[in-house]
Each structure stands twice: as structure tokens, then as C-alpha cells.
Symmetry: D3
Subunit: 147 residues, 6 copies
């Protein structure tokens, strides 16, 4: 995104800082939830290719579908509930990133290509950066993210 | 959103038309799914206020929570899977509309104010316009939307 | 069902009109919920036959199973909660229609024949007629069914 | 199950073979699934009245809702999938019984009256009779119903 | 397990008898819930081998996965909520039995061997003995287990 | 647990190391999934006490129930699928820890006491130690646990 658009967006952004507040039930958010499920997709694709057994492969496909659906759900929760209008000013690509990540998770459902799972993980890494950059670890976890 | 931003967005939008394709399982999408659940929220709030019975009220609250969650889910599916990059060129407020609609559904969970349910329904109407404006009824329903 | 049974049923039907009332959470019902899922089944079968890709086909089968299950669920809700004893007097085939529709949805799970999906849609159309004939659009939707 | 009972059952089985077929996944059905959940509703109502604690009572209400929903689901499965057209000939009240049982489960959601839970259990007993009368224990359980 | 270990365990077991109490929502527990789902797994494997139809087989695999997951869930509920510390004194193999049963259910997901389903059923029989031996039928069912 | 019991357990433990293997779909496990949900319970209790609003409190109770149920589910997955017999030799308190953690999660459902949520978190910390002590981060996450 060009610098102009960023500046424009920052001008259009709400001037008065909207109080970041937590929806009940949440307050606790962490992109780890999406990432763990996305790692499951990655490993499932890997194991699919390593096996010649039909029964195993059929299971792998339906498990991948389910895990990718969970990735989408956890991303939705972050986008709907954690991120607030003032964060869009800081990260003008916020909506696009989430949209791409959701579409990448759909792609992982449709694909057996490990590259697609990597692409999804990279987008979750970007979400993770935004979460950190907006104070996520301190604001949402009880004691930050454990090592 | 100002005209300038729309024009700007339309310039930044991908020039080569990305082939609109349907994810399996979908191909069939209709904002009616979100609207029916949102109407349930509306009626539930109405009935909540009309009753003085504690048991009834407790049930109404948890039912509203569940229905509003389904609204969010159906909106997510439309946003992730039905809408494509070329639609953003036509509707530069697409992401914002969905984001607001999701946050409005969260608000309905938190609120007992009928106005909040109305606000959610109005945003779903806007989504419905976008769905129609992008050929939704003909492209996604077998015989259009039944009267 | 024979004519005799219909007449007998209409004689046995409760004379005093039971007050139609709405369960919380519902009040809002629309056969569109079942129909949208059934259209998904239809399209999924169509796409299954159009593809030779094993991964795609395996996904189509499990998605069809899930969508047909949702058809059954939405039909159950209408049958349990929307329809009342006085409606059976008007539509003596009400129970049979729902039973057949549920079994048609089971058939769609088991089948890859587009005719089975059509049969299910036809039965949902019949349910839709009953819903309209008993005042469904005005009684259950906030502003009727949108065009 | 004794050999005598098995042989007797085979004599009582419908002579004209109506295409009794088992949906996959089922073949295994037992009204116990509905009854166990209905007993949970009963005990939950009992405990609700025995407690004065608000937190406990709020939990009881939402747990009752969930359990009654499961009763409805298990009844639906029996009605859709286990019972076949020839059974309606034997039990002309089959549809009515299931309809009443579903409505009784809805009533249990709405009520805190132990009598409503008893009414539901009585209807499940009737379903149980039909299941037994149509050879359910021998046909659907691996070794009949355990004592 | 050796007698020595049992005696040892009984010495280490809490002396003061912890009052067996029921969590809300339960109070009602029965290993029948797990067994019915495990019987579904058994029949599904049987039917899988009896069929040469690919569509049928794909459905059987995903249905088996789902049913085995429900077995695990029902076992978990019994282990978490029904059994109490004093029961471990009586049945020192309680944890091991549940652990093995859960792992046997995982095995049934991975396998098409009827012996694995039998192994799972045998472990559920052992759980059933423990449930009976601790007064389950009288304590948890309204009128014991129906014949 | 006494040293004697540990030694005894280590003697009874299987001598030949069972090959740790991953169930499909898993291979990816992390106690973070349970902890994040448990932190939600903690915050929900905290907010419950900070609010005097009935609607808010009713929502908090049902949200806490749901989150604590997810804690139990994530713990079950770790216990069933990640941990293997050779780990019991290393951690003879493995079963007891999981059992207590599940019961602590049940307690959190029943309680509004922040201490109960703390107790649950402490048990999840113990599970986390076992996961680390058995090589969890390297074996189950793609790149270990992110900071």
C-alpha cells in the first residue's frame, strides 16, 4: 500500500481515540489459537503425501477441512473483537490482511500443496505482529505469552 | 466514505479481473441466513422486555447470544468466500461494512436495546445490496430468491 | 395417504383452535434456511460429477453430508416449533411431508444422483407452501420475506 | 438375548419385505440416548428448586436448555432414520407421538415444572415401546440392551 | 494389576470419605452413551468391508471418525465427573482403564479392523462394571437402567 | 506421591519403549490451547464481580461454562493423544494431574471464586511442564513455541 493511502487513512481515522474495550467473554486473545490449528493443517498435508494408505488419506482430508475451519474461526474472533478502529490507523492493511488470511485458509481446505499452508502461516505471522504492535501480549494474556 | 477515497481505491484495485470462482462447498450464499438470525435477536429482545419472568429472561439472554453468534458466522462466510477482490473495487466500503456488521452483532450480544438489533439489520441490508449488486441472486441461488 | 384417512384425520383433529404461540427463541422461522442448505447439496453433487480430482471429490462428499444434516435440522425446527395442531387440520399431510423430507435429506447424504437433490427441494417447496398457507411470512418475519 | 427370543422375533418380523434399509451411519439406535438426556432435565429442575443460589440457578437453566435440545435431536434421529413406513401401519400414532415428544421437550426448555419433565419421559417410554415392538433391541444393538 | 499395588493404593487413598456429589448438570451418567456410539463404529466398519462403493466407503470413514470422537467425549464425562477419589481406592486401575479406552477409541478412528472396535467395546464393558460396582444404576438413573 | 510408589510404578511401566507416534490429525499439541481458555475463565470471573448489571452477569456465567468446557476438551486431547505410556514412567502423577485439572475445570464452572481459576491455571502449568519435559515444543510445534 502506498504511503499516500496510509496518510490518507490516518487522516480519515477517528480523531478521538475510541477506548479499546474488551467484549465479554473475551479480553483474552492470542493468534496462537489460529497458528496451532494452521500448523495442524501443515502437518496433515505433509503426512498425507507420506502415506499411500487410502483410509489414512481420506481421514487426512476431512481433518484438514476441520482444522482450516477452526483457523478461520479464530481469525474472525481476532478481527471482530480484538482489533478496534484506532488499530486500523496504525495498520491500514489490517482488513486486507485478515481477508487474505481467511481466503488462504479456504485455499488450504482446497489444496494439498504445502506451500499453501506456509502462505497461511505467514499471514498469521503478520496478524501476530499486529497483535504485538498493539500491545496484545500485555493487554490480553494474564502473564504475557509463556516461553 | 468520500468520493476521493472511492476513486483512489478503484485505482488501486487489481486491474485484471480475478476470476470469480466458488469455493466448494459453497457456490450458494444468501444474506438471508444472517438476516433470519438477526431477526431472532430482535424478537428475543422484544420478548425479553415484555416478560417479567426470570426464567424466561435468563433463557432469552442465552438464546440471543447464540443467535448473534450465528449472525457473525453467516457474515463471515459471505465475506470470506462469496466476495472477491473485484467486488472491493465496486464497493470500497465492503470491508468496513462487514467489520461494522460483526461489531454490531457483538453489540447485540451485549445489549438489550432494540436499537442495536435494528442497527445490525440495517448493516445486513447493506450487505444484501452488495450481494445483489454483484449478481448474487442469479449466481448463487438455484432459481434466484423465492418470493 | 388415502382420502379416507385424510377425512378421518380431519374429524379427529382438535376442534378448539389451540392458540398458536411462539417458543422462545423462535418466533422467526423460514423454510429458506432449509432450502439454502439443500441448494448447496444440489450444487455439490453437480460439481462432484464435473470434477475428476480425488481430493475435490472426497471434500464434496463430506460437505454434502454436513449440508444435508443442516437441512434435517432446519426442517425439524419448523416441524417441532412453528407448526401447531390446528395446522394439521388444514394440512393433513403435514407429518408425512416432513417425514418424507427428512428421509429425502438422508437419501441425499447417501446419493450422488441429482434427482435426489431435486426431490428434496420439491418437498421443501411443499413445506414452503404450508408455511405461507398458515401465514408464515407475516407472522414470523419482521418485514415478510425480502425480494 | 436368548435364542428363543431371536427366533420368535424373526417370526414376528414383517413378511413382505418393505425395503427396510439402514442409513449409514446408523443401524444402531436406542431411545436410551433420548431418555438419558431427559433424565438430566428432570434432575436439573429438581436441583434448581432445591437451591437458592443465583449462580447455580442460572447454570441450571442453560444446562436444561442444552439437554432438552439433545433430547429433540435424539428423537429426530429415531423418527427420521430408524422408523420405516411399515412401522406406521403397526403404530398409526407414530408421527403424533414423536411430534408430541418434540413439543414436550420444547416445553421442558420453557418450564421449571417437574411434571413437564415427567410428561416428556412418558412419551419417550412410548417411543421405547415402539422401538421394542418393531424389533429394535435385536436389530439395532450388537447384543441387545445390556441389563 | 498386582494385589500389592491395589493394597498400596488403598493405603494411599484418602481416608476421609469424600462425599460423592453430582456436578450440575449431570447427576445422570450411564456408560450406555459411550457404548451406543462404539457399536456404531463397529457396524460402520462391518458395512465398510461389505461394500465396494467408493462413495459409501468415504462416508463410512468420516462417520466412524465422528462416532469415535463421541465415544471419547462420553468416556471423558464419566471419568471427569462421575468417578470420585474414593472410587480409585476400589478400582486402582480406573485411570489406566479410561486412558486405554480413550486410546482404543483413537485406534478405532485410525483402523478398519473389527478387532479394534471389539477391543474398545471390551474396555467400555470394564467401565460399565466400575459404574455398577460404585452404585451407578441406582445413583444416577431415575429408575435404574431399563431392560 | 511417595518415592516408593514412583519406583514401583517405574518397575511396572513397560520396559520396551513404545514408539511415540502421532495420531492423525494431531502431531501438533500445545497446552496453550487449554491455558488461553482458562485465562478467559479467570477474566470472566473478575469482570463478573466488577459489574452490577444483571444482563452482563448472566452472560458471564454462560460464557464461563463454555470456556471451562473447552479447557476440559483441550486437556482431554493432550491426555488421550499426546502422552504415551513411557511418559507415565517419567511422570507417575500424569493421570492424577489430568484428573485433578479436569475436576478443577468443573469447579470453575460451578464457582465464582477467582481462587478456583487460579488453581486450574496452576494445574495447567504442571501439564505444561510435562509437555516440555517430554520434548513437546520441539516435537509438536513447527518452530517451537513463539515468543
Amino acid at each position: 500500500m502506498s504511503r499516500l493511502v496510509r496518510r490518507l487513512a490516518s487522516h480519515l481515522a477517528p480523531k478521538t481515540v475510541v477506548r479499546a474495550h474488551c467484549d465479554l467473554p473475551c479480553g483474552v486473545y492470542d493468534p496462537e489459537q489460529a497458528r496451532i490449528e494452521a500448523e495442524s493443517c501443515y502437518r496433515t498435508i505433509e503426512k498425507y503425501h507420506a502415506s499411500a494408505d487410502e483410509h489414512f488419506r481420506a481421514r487426512a482430508i476431512s481433518i484438514k477441512e476441520e482444522r482450516a475451519e477452526l483457523v478461520k474461526h479464530h481469525l474472525d474472533v481476532l478481527w471482530h473483537d480484538y482489533f478496534k478502529p484506532e488499530h486500523v490507523a496504525t495498520y491500514p492493511d489490517l482488513h486486507e490482511t485478515f481477508w487474505k488470511a481467511s481466503k488462504a485458509a479456504s485455499k488450504v481446505k482446497q489444496s494439498l500443496d504445502l506451500e499453501d499452508a506456509k502462505g497461511l502461516l505467514a499471514l498469521i505471522d503478520r496478524v501476530d505482529e499486529m497483535w504485538k504492535g498493539t500491545g496484545g501480549p500485555g493487554k490480553t494474556r494474564l502473564n504475557g505469552r509463556p516461553g
